[in-house]
Structure formats: C-alpha cells, structure tokens
C-alpha cells in the first residue's frame, strides 16, 4: 500500500465520489463541495494570473493601448449595478462582433466550400454511396420534411426513413464514443486505486 499523502488523498476522495452509488450521503457532499471549490479556485487563480501576465505587466512595460481591453473587461462588472448596467453592453457587443467576424470569414471556406466539395464524390464505392445518400436525405429531412400535403409526405416516406437511419447510425457512433471515453476513465480510476494506492496491479 502506498505511503504517499497525495495518493491517499486521491484514493479517499475517489471513494467518496463513488459512495454516491449507495445514495447521497455526507461523505459525497463533502467531496462534491471540495471539488466545486477547488475547481473554482483553480480557474480564478489561472484567470488572475492571466490578467496580470497579459494585461497589467505589459501595461506597466509601456503598452499603453492595453488600457482599452482592461477598461472593457472592468465594464462587464457594471452589470451588478443597475444605474450603470448599460455600460456592460459595450464589451459584450465587441466580443460578439469580433467573434462573429472571425467565425464568418473562415467558415465560408472551412465549413461550407470544403465540406460541400468533399460530399460531391463519385458513387464508386459503398462508403461514397452512404456518404452521398446519407447527407442528401438528412438535409432533405430537415428542410423539406414538413410537407403539408399528405400525398407528398407518403411519396417521400423512403427519404425520411433513410434520413432517420443515417441519423441513428450517427447517434449510435456518438454514443459508442461516449461509452469508450467513460470506460477509459473508469479503467484509469481502477488503476489508480488498485495500482498506485493498494499496489495490487503491477
């Protein structure tokens, strides 16, 4: 068994989290609060370090223009005081505008043209057929799937079926990935408990 304080702390906190399996209990509550507290503290420390490193230090070294982003950052906190709350709209508007501009300019090539180009492929392999049919039917399902006429709905029923099958396959693949991730996590925890802590695993 390990004699390391950090290994013992990790192991006991892990067991505390898993105690939830027998129901919500005081040990779990302590670990839960610790986790939230430490997480918030860590994020606050990183954020503060970042402001000092990328804001105040260069500012004191003569980069006077940094007054503008620092002032905009402080203006966000105006939300907490009703009379000056309107001030917070300016930094938020700038963040949204810059974010949109950055996204839109690159999206046209990266997410539209390149992706559409890659979907226009010859139907010479099973994989290409699945790609083209799956993409086309799924787009159809969302854009034209709500036809008002009953007759039209029935005529295109096969497209809806193909689209739903494609989506189910995609969701299935996503679920498998989530499962794989959770298993990897659990294996890591078991190795930590039975390996680093109890030394049962070599």
């Amino acid at each position: 068994m390990s004699s390391s304080f950090s290994v013992w702390t990790t192991a006991l906190l892990t067991l505390g989290v898993y105690s939830f399996l027998i129901g919500y209990n005081p040990v779990f509550a302590i670990v839960e609060h610790l986790f939230v507290g430490i997480g918030a503290g860590y994020m606050a420390a990183i954020g503060l370090q970042n402001i000092v490193k990328q804001g105040f230090t260069p500012l004191t070294n003569g980069n006077a223009w940094l007054v503008v982003p620092i002032a905009l950052g402080i203006m966000i906190y105006a939300r907490y005081s009703r009379p000056v709350a309107w001030l917070s709209r300016y930094p938020i508007a700038i963040v949204v505008a810059v974010g949109s501009a950055l996204t839109i300019s690159g999206t046209i090539q990266a997410q539209f043209i390149a992706q559409i180009q890659d979907t226009i492929v010859p139907l010479t392999s099973f994989s290409n057929i699945v790609l083209v049919v799956g993409t086309a039917t799924t787009i159809w399902y969302f854009y034209f799937g709500t036809l008002k006429s009953k007759a039209a709905q029935q005529s295109y029923e096969w497209i809806s079926v193909a689209a739903r099958a494609t989506m189910m396959m995609a969701f299935g693949a996503g679920y498998t990935g989530i499962l794989a991730g959770n298993i990897a996590r659990m294996v890591g925890i078991i190795r930590q408990l039975f390996g680093e802590w109890l030394h049962f695993i070599k």
Binding site: L21, N50, N61, L102, T103, A114, R185, V187, F194
Partner: protein
C-alpha cells in the same frame, strides 16, 4: 414459494458490479489481447516521423481531468515522438484546465533530455478560444510577451524563429472540445500548416468530416489510438496497460446489449400471447 425477480435498482447495481469486475480482472491478470495498429494512429505516426530538425510543431492542449486518461497519452506520444525526430515544440493550452497538462508534458520532455528554450518552449494558457488562437497565429510575440514562467520570448532561442502561424510546420491539437474541431481548421487554413487532432473517443465522430476532406491531416481516437501510438514508439505505457481492461468492459457491454434484446423480444412475445 416462488423466487422473486430482482428489482430494477438491484439489476443496476449488479450491472455496475459486473462492469467493475470486467475491468479489474484483466488489470490484475492481463489477458494480452493483441493491439493491431490501425490506419489512424499510423497516419499520425507517419506525419510526425517525417518531421526534421528544421520544423517547429505547435502542440495545444484543451482537456480536463476526466479526459486525461485518453488525451494525456496522446499528447505525450506526439510531443516525445516529434522531439525524437529533432523537431522543435511550442506548447500552449487553449483552456485553463489544459494548462496543467501542457506543463506536465513539457516537464516530461525536459526530463527526457529536451533543452528548454531551444527544443521546447511552454507558453502556457491562451485565453479567448477562437479569438485567442486567431490572434496567436497572426502574431505570436504580441500575444505572448513571456513564456509560462515569465521569461521574455526574446531570451528563448526557439522563439526567434517563430513569429506567426506560417512558421509552424504543423499543429497538434489534443482536445476534448468540439469547438476546437471547428475553429482550428478555420483559423489555420490561411497559414498552410498541417493540422493533427487528437480527441477523446466521444468527439471522434465530429472530427470525421474534417479528416475526410483533408482539412485535418490525421487524428487520434481516444485511448485505443493512444495505445497503438505507444506501441509504434516502442514505449508501452498507461494506454497499452489499460487496453485489456477496456476490451473486457466492451465484451461485457456487448453481451449485455445482446442479452437485453433477447430478453426484450422473448418477454414481448409472451405478452403478445
């Protein structure tokens, strides 16, 4: 007196226990299930293998504690492999949580013989997600005046050769965020650097369109590809050790899915009668 069927919550606990045992037993007594090398890990390996001493690779981390068992080995393998080829590494983290793993990997590289400042530099946390990455690629020195420890970039020899995104031969992003998969191709496209993305298994489907279109050169999928990469490097570590347990759990889950479906159809038929 007839036996009472187990209550649903009891079944749930039995399944929890079975899943736990399916992972624990292979860890205690390894089964040695072979791990064949797949195309995806081979593609990343081949790309890194082709790097040389004149190339600089940007390594970015954006994952947290829960994703570390999958993502940390991926990032470690790519970084150490690139260093072994003589390539230079600049490490950043595009999330606060990722910063600790960027530090871990940099320290490991230095422990393995990489010279800090010449072979590898840790710039640290880059806030702002897409806006931050965009600013960084446009002007590295304006975004980071110092490295993570506060050393001015002017004092780090490696950073004299890196000014914009065009100075990177490639970018390796290890991420648990689906946003990264959208904005890295978007922001990197004008600089011409190759993009390697390593992700947790749950984000892998999201990466597929970019891999297919070639916008992402190659990618690593979860623990499985990390294990394959460890084998390609002849450095079996945590991912290889975990694969038997992972396979044990997969087998059990497949068996449970089959059993549940059989039970469903059998009971539904009985109900129908």
């Amino acid at each position: 007196m007839t036996a009472q069927p187990a209550k649903p919550q009891h079944w749930r606990r039995i399944i929890h226990l079975l899943v736990f045992l399916s992972m624990l037993i292979p860890l205690l007594r390894p089964l040695g299930i072979p791990i064949p090398i797949g195309e995806t890990s081979r593609a990343v390996y081949d790309y890194i293998q082709a790097l040389g001493p004149a190339d600089v690779l940007l390594v970015s981390s954006n994952f947290s504690v829960p994703q570390a068992p999958e993502c940390l080995p991926q990032m470690t393998c790519v970084t150490l492999h690139a260093l072994s080829r003589g390539a230079k590494i600049v490490v950043i983290a595009s999330s606060a949580d990722g910063a600790r793993y960027a530090t871990t990997v940099t320290e490991l590289a230095v422990d393995e013989g990489a010279r800090y400042g010449t072979d590898i530099v840790l710039l640290g946390f880059l806030p702002g997600e897409e806006a931050g990455v965009s600013a960084f690629l446009a002007d590295v020195h304006r975004t980071f005046a110092t490295d993570q420890e506060g050393t001015p970039l002017a004092n780090l020899p490696l950073m004299q050769t890196v000014h914009t995104g065009s100075d990177f031969k490639g970018v390796s992003v290890t991420t648990a965020s689906a946003n990264d998969m959208d904005f890295w191709p978007r922001q990197l496209q004008k600089y011409g650097a190759a993009l390697i993305m390593a992700s947790q298994a749950s984000s892998w489907p999201k990466l597929q369109p970019y891999l297919r279109s070639g916008q992402v050169t190659a990618g690593l999928n979860g623990q499985r590809d990390a294990a394959e990469y460890e084998l390609l490097l002849h450095r079996p570590a945590s991912s290889v050790a975990a694969m038997d347990a992972t396979s044990g759990a997969y087998l059990l889950i497949v068996a449970l899915v089959v059993a549940s479906n059989v039970a469903y159809f059998v009971f539904e038929r009985r109900k129908g009668r």
